[in-house]
């Protein structure tokens, strides 16, 4: 009798443990869903662009797409580490950043390449251009008052000290592009010479360095800053929403920087990825860009919306892609160095003031 009781108690314990294990298993496994999609797209682009374009692509081709959103830097890291789910496409991110990581991607020339503007051709074969995003200065018209801001030089105005919004170029690709533009513009075509300006600008930031590009244009729209350094699309979006801002194309000049779309090396859905690249460079998508999303198309046959200033009225700068890619690390390092130096000086000043 005793044995029977012991056996049945052990049996019950085993059953309970089994039940708990099964339940836990079920619960934990539900977090890891196997993607049934046939295309995994990594993108730093905002939902307002991604959503409509992806759903149009899905409806056109019947291919199920999963979108993973993060900042460009983060996405590149995930691709390199081959994190689950593995990407088939990287859509977005400035060319400078992407070109530096060419080894992560595969060569592919889209079938729309012949329609692409000669400035935006896929010369290396790895990077199909998707849209054009020049860097701009955004200002809050309410706070501007009598201050003149028409270009980068005007940002050195002492009245603007601490009132300029800028994102850390190490974290934001749009901010890095803006930095490049500043170097080329203020170095009069030679970026090495632009550092003198940059140092002064950093001083005028007065320690304000945001970690995220959206904080730049939101902050200016909410009146937290008088001016900000950002990219055209964001500024135009907010302007169209009715924010009290205006967009300044720097009189010293700006670079028509592109973002790209690339196929990740080792993708298992190569056919679908190629279809996606072709779709993004197709006339429909590009026209949508122009009409709805406040971006500039890379195609010759897609014109500019009235809301975006005609290229004729913008001073354009030409940059050296190769130099950009080669010196990316150096540029970031130098920027950090200057920021830290400035920070130290501020500290010193504070302690002296005491």
């Amino acid at each position: 009798m005793k044995k029977k009781i012991i056996c049945s108690i052990i049996g019950i314990i085993i059953i309970i443990l089994l039940a708990i294990w099964l339940y836990a298993e079920k619960y934990s496994s539900s977090i890891y869903k196997k993607p049934i999609s046939s295309l995994i797209v990594y993108t730093p682009n905002s939902l307002s662009i991604v959503d409509p374009l992806v759903s149009e692509f899905e409806n056109d081709t019947g291919i199920n797409v999963t979108v993973i959103s993060h900042g460009t830097g983060e996405l590149l890291k995930l691709i390199k580490e081959r994190k689950y789910p593995q990407a088939d496409i990287l859509w977005g991110g400035s060319l400078t950043l992407l070109n530096a990581k060419k080894d992560l991607f595969e060569k592919y020339i889209s079938k729309n390449e012949k329609y692409i503007n000669k400035n935006y051709k896929n010369s290396s074969g790895y990077m199909t251009r998707f849209s054009v995003m020049p860097s701009v200065i955004i200002i809050n018209t309410n706070l501007l008052g009598k201050i003149r801001i028409q270009g980068f030089q005007d940002l050195l105005n002492p009245k603007l000290k601490g009132k300029i919004a800028n994102a850390n170029p190490a974290l934001s690709s749009s901010s890095f592009e803006n930095l490049l533009t500043q170097l080329y513009a203020m170095g009069k075509g030679n970026p090495e010479k632009g550092w003198k300006y940059e140092q002064k600008l950093i001083k005028n930031l007065d320690g304000n360095l945001l970690n995220n590009s959206s904080k730049v244009y939101k902050g200016v729209s909410d009146g937290k800053y008088t001016a900000g350094l950002t990219f055209e699309e964001a500024a135009v979006n907010y302007f169209k929403e009715g924010a009290p801002i205006s967009i300044i194309y720097p009189e010293e000049g700006t670079i028509m920087e592109c973002d790209g779309v690339a196929i990740v090396k080792g993708t298992k859905n190569k056919k679908n990825a190629e279809k996606f690249v072709n779709f993004l460079t197709g006339k429909n998508a590009q026209e949508l860009l122009d009409r709805e999303f406040n971006r500039r198309s890379v195609r010759n046959d897609v014109g500019n919306d009235n809301s975006l200033r005609n290229v004729k009225n913008i001073k354009l700068l030409k940059d050296n892609e190769k130099w950009d890619v080669d010196n990316k690390h150096e540029i970031l390092r130098k920027y950090k160095e200057l920021t830290v130096k400035q920070h130290k000086e501020m500290q010193k000043k504070l302690s002296v003031d005491k």
């Binding site: 009798m1 309410n142 706070l143 501007l144 008052g145 009598k146 201050i147 729209s221 909410d222 009146g223 937290k224 929403e241 009715g242 924010a243 009290p244």
Partner: protein, 574 residues
């Protein structure tokens, strides 16, 4: 008796289990469960109140900040110039106001209107601005104007596209140094922003309303009625019902009772849990009861089995079956009992054996004693005869002495208690020969022995007293006696019959003799007969013995029956 006892014991055990194990557990569990339930209920209420307090304190604090700002506006040297100067530099005012609003946790859109209601400054985005003919705006300005020293707070609803936005407006008239109204300051707190801040609380429903039950913020839209008012279908002091669900609620008031904060916690889940839990517990307890009863029955059965074994063993023992050992292996006191019982049984048997031994020995002693009674009596008579013989017939006297001494030697010889009939008869003949010397022709006898009986074992000289008796009484009565001794085998019995012609005994005397013979003590003077009977019965049991009967008037017949055996007697009395 045995079966009754078993039922009683079993019932006892079952009752004990139920009373002392099951019922206390049940009571205890129900108590704990109910206490837990009450505690959870209490916790929910406490949490609710806490959250409510958090929200209302937060709101109160924020609104106070805005109120303070509105009260100070008229003294601000940054704002007044905007309304008074011709071409003011609004950027300073903007900077001040942007700064203020961005520091608040509750975001708002600010407006400055001139005395006519035109927008002079605003942080609103272009498509969200008031139009000067907006009813809501007109209304606000009218109120601000009519009470320029008061802060006006109102809930407004505006349409923006497909959405109906709720805006809580706080405004006050701006007065110049002459206390004249030169404009109005307005803060529009956007309800959606409020939502974002308030939503991270752990209540099921949160509603902020104005004094007319209009909803400012609500966590769920389903609770609103068609006019966007918050009116529950049923409520009392602590509970309210929304969509047939019961909620515990707490309400706090802020801002001079113009804003109410409701926090609701659903009790339906807890109630369902409680009911479900009770039902579950009942099922468990039913199950437990059944299994405990089964266990109790099994347990008591196994214990009473042991008891019953013991009982039946004792019963059998009472009936005389001395080999009923008990086998119990239950490793408990019952096993001890059975071991003791078995030991006791062994002891008992030993004692009984000893007893029997003792009895047998005492029987033997008694027999010997009885045998001893033979000798003096016999001698006595023989000497009597010898007395005469010596004088009358000396030669025969010598042979008589020889005969007697042989006979005496035979009778004393204790080595042989039981002898073959054929041997014993020799001495009987000797005895008769001796008697013949005495009685001469007055005594006649015949001896007939069946061939089968010759080798039968008989107790030594068993017939002698019989013969002596018959001779004595026969001679007394008639002066002469004829004896017939017949020995035969009948039915595994040795039958010795002695018939005489002594006339017999009176019937009543005969009966009394027979009665006396079967008593354990001899209270008569018939020593001889008594001894024979006693000897036979002690040695062989009550199936054998002596029988007396009259043969009409002629004489008496005595029959002795003995077991027929040609081997030495096996102690048949055991």
């Amino acid at each position: 008796m045995g079966i009754q006892k078993r039922k009683f014991f079993k019932k006892e055990i079952r009752r004990t289990f139920i009373l002392y194990a099951l019922i206390p557990t049940l009571i205890f569990a129900v108590l704990i469960f109910s206490i837990l339930f009450i505690y959870f209920r209490y916790m929910i209420k406490e949490q609710n109140r806490e959250n409510n307090t958090d929200v209302s304190i937060f709101l109160k604090h924020e609104i106070t900040i805005y109120k303070n700002e509105l009260n100070n506006i008229s003294n601000s040297d940054k704002i007044l110039p905007v309304l008074e100067k011709k071409n003011p530099d609004k950027s300073i005012a903007y900077e001040y106001l942007y700064d203020f609003v961005n520091r608040c946790k509750l975001k708002s859109v600010f407006y400055i209107f001139d005395a006519e209601g035109n927008t002079v400054m605003t942080s609103a985005w272009r498509n969200a601005q008031y139009h000067s003919n907006d009813y809501a705006l007109e209304d606000m300005i009218k109120r601000m104007n009519s009470s320029p020293d008061k802060i006006i707070m109102m809930l407004n609803r505006t349409q923006s596209g497909l959405n109906s936005n709720k805006i809580y407006s706080m405004g006050k008239a701006i007065l110049n140094r002459d206390k004249r109204v030169i404009g109005y300051m307005l803060f529009d707190l956007v309800a959606d922003d409020l939502n974002k801040i308030i939503y991270n609380k752990q209540v099921d429903v949160l509603v902020v309303t104005d004094q007319f039950d209009n909803v400012i913020v609500a966590s769920n839209n389903f609770i609103l009625n068609s006019m966007n008012k918050f009116i529950p279908s049923k409520f009392n002091n602590n509970y309210m019902w929304l969509n047939h669900d019961k909620y515990y609620y707490y309400r706090s008031k802020i801002n001079n009772d113009t804003i109410f904060v409701y926090t609701l916690s659903s009790t339906s889940l807890l109630d369902k849990f409680y009911v479900g839990g009770l039902i579950f517990m009942c099922i468990i307890f039913l199950f437990m009861t059944i299994s405990i009863i089964i266990i109790a029955i099994r347990f008591s059965e196994s214990k009473t089995k042991s008891l019953y074994k013991l009982l039946s063993a004792i019963k059998r023992l009472q009936k005389g079956h001395l080999n009923t050992y008990v086998d119990i292996n239950s490793n408990d006191e019952f096993e001890l009992l059975s071991d003791y019982y078995n030991e006791m049984l062994v002891e008992l048997k030993k004692l009984m054996k000893q007893n029997r031994e003792q009895l047998r020995r005492s029987n033997i002693a008694e027999i010997k004693q009885l045998e001893a009674q033979f000798n003096p009596h016999y001698l006595f008579n023989t000497f009597e005869v010898l007395k005469y013989m010596i004088k009358i017939d000396p030669t025969n006297a010598v042979s008589m002495v020889i005969c007697m001494s042989d006979l005496l030697r035979y009778s004393i010889n204790h080595e042989k208690e039981n002898v073959k009939l054929i041997d014993d008869i020799k001495y009987i003949r000797d005895y008769l020969k001796i008697q013949k010397y005495r009685y001469d022709d007055k005594l006649t006898y015949s001896i007939n022995i069946d061939e089968k009986a010759e080798n039968c074992i008989v107790p030594k000289l068993i017939m002698q007293p019989l013969i002596e008796n018959s001779i004595k009484y026969g001679y007394e009565k008639n002066g002469s006696v004829k004896l017939d001794l017949n020995i035969g085998v009948n039915d595994e019995k040795l039958v010795i019959t002695l018939t005489d012609d002594g006339g017999g005994i009176k019937l009543d005397k005969l009966e009394s003799i027979i009665k006396q013979l079967n008593k354990k003590e001899n209270k008569t003077t018939h020593i001889g007969l008594y001894n024979i009977q006693r000897r036979i019965q002690l040695t062989f049991g009550e199936n054998y013995g002596m029988y007396l009967e009259n043969i009409d008037d002629k004489g008496m017949k005595v029959t002795i029956s003995l077991p027929y055996s040609i081997n030495n007697y096996i102690s048949s009395r055991s």
